[in-house]
Amino acid sequence: MTATGNLERVLRGGHFAVTAECGPPRGADPESVRKKGNCLKDVVDAVNVTDNQTAVVRMSSLAACVVLKEMGFDTVLQMTVRDRNRIALQSDILGASALGIKNVLCLSGDHQSFGDHRGAKNVYDIDSIQLIDTVRGMRDEGKFLSGEEIKGRPDLFIGCVENPFADPFDIRALRLAKKVKAGAQFVQTQCVFNVEKFVQWMEMVRDLGLHEKAFILAGVTPMKSPAMARYMKGSVPGMDVPDDLIERMSAVSKEKYREEGISICVETIERLRAIKGVAGIHIMAIEWEQAVPEIVSKAGLGTRP
């Protein structure tokens, strides 16, 4: 075992963790990754790098993670099972660990029909829960999925996602239980706008004792405009944006949209922090990483452990 990553250190130390998402560019220029990284410096405990999110081709998550790592960040490598089979996934897990990446987030990935290569063949050789189990087996048992032995085990803190707002609602905590059983050590949730529903989900999570088995980071997203809020409500799968938030965004003048979006986000974080079992927040400021320092500071989380 090598040194623990910063995110794991913060969470195990009992501190309220702050992570943020960084979407890699649709091009080969590492400077745009560094630019986003500069906004997040000393503001977050780790940076997630998305894996061709919304099935749109971007710089690989692993490459962007390395760029950010060189800047001093602890990074969370997001891995979807949409584009790679078990051979490629295990290979990238070994590669990530070799490059010093400390965290992996296992997810299904948006279906390719949402992206710009709709004619692509999808893979889905294994699913996200099986990927969690695969990484755990590689790390803890030193074995590939085939059962063959690994020479030089990968050392990764294993994360998963869960959407408390998807249906059927009553199995959403059970589904997290399955992920924890498979080996997930932390979870970053879908963006929380409907706090009441998230509270209900957390009750089910606590009833299953999952908050004691895995660190739960609640996802938040600042809205830039009422149009974005409406878009997320109507067109993004699995998103639950209550009408009163859309109305609140619409009630302010255009120049104040972003300010209001940040205020809503900060208030949401304060409410989430008060929920028993929430170990941190994950800020997904979509193409608006510049907003993260202000959100973190206004939420009183500016001093990182």
Partner: protein, 222 residues
């Protein structure tokens, strides 16, 4: 059954453009049931082709025939006495039928008049939907008789994903989420505790992934 759609008419017309004598063949099996390649559809397509080519000033002779099965040597060989009379064969059977006619008569141009879609069921008159992908290693015993391989857009074995909403798949509003159906059935049977069982990675070597498949029954071979 195998469900197919007729190819767009213009595609068919372009495909047969070089030919003056065509044998249009249907099949009495699946494509008849899904109303795309039986005797009726052969007659309809033949008339459409004749009219179109007549109108374009390049008349074509189209003869019609529907085989009991295009995927069986016994019936495929029935074309032997007449096939030499034609420039090309247009088959409106599934891809298996088209290929089997083509391999029975390798000297002949055999063209597909339908796009073969899926293995499915008749939900109601005029509505067919997919049920099976022929993965070669059936999991229906563990999924309450609902197949996540064929019916989940991501073939997730431990679903549902985060896009399941109101019982529907995130992709197309009219498609039921297979995992929602599975969970509803588990609940109805009082077996929700089984949901916690983690399904291990599937062995796709029984599926198409291990290459084209073949089944040989030595005991019934002649």
């Amino acid at each position: 059954m195998i469900v197919a759609d007729r190819k767009p008419f213009n595609e068919i017309i372009n495909m047969i453009a070089p030919y003056g004598r065509i044998l249009l063949i249907g099949c009495n099996e699946c494509v008849t049931v899904c109303a795309v390649g039986g005797t009726k559809e052969v007659a309809l397509l033949a008339s459409q082709i004749r009219l179109k080519r007549q109108g374009d000033g390049v008349p074509v002779e189209v003869d019609e025939k529907t085989l009991e099965r295009q995927c069986d040597p016994e019936y495929a060989q029935a074309l032997a006495p007449v096939i030499a009379d034609y420039d090309a064969v247009l088959s409106i059977a599934c891809g298996c039928g088209v290929q089997f006619i083509a391999e029975t008569y390798p000297e002949k141009t055999v063209l597909p008049g339908v796009n073969t879609r899926f293995m499915g069921v008749t939900e109601q008159h005029g509505v067919w939907s997919e049920r099976c992908q022929g993965c070669g290693d059936c999991v229906l015993d563990r999924t309450c008789g609902i197949c996540p391989v064929a019916r989940c857009a991501k073939s997730i074995m431990n679903g549902p994903c985060g896009g399941s909403h109101g019982g529907l798949c995130e992709l197309k509003n009219e498609t039921p989420c297979a995992w929602h159906l599975i969970i509803e059935r588990l609940k109805a049977r009082g077996e929700l505790d089984r949901y916690l069982d983690i399904e291990k990675p599937k062995d796709w070597s029984a599926s198409r992934d291990a290459g084209p498949r073949k089944r040989v029954r030595e005991d019934i071979k002649i």
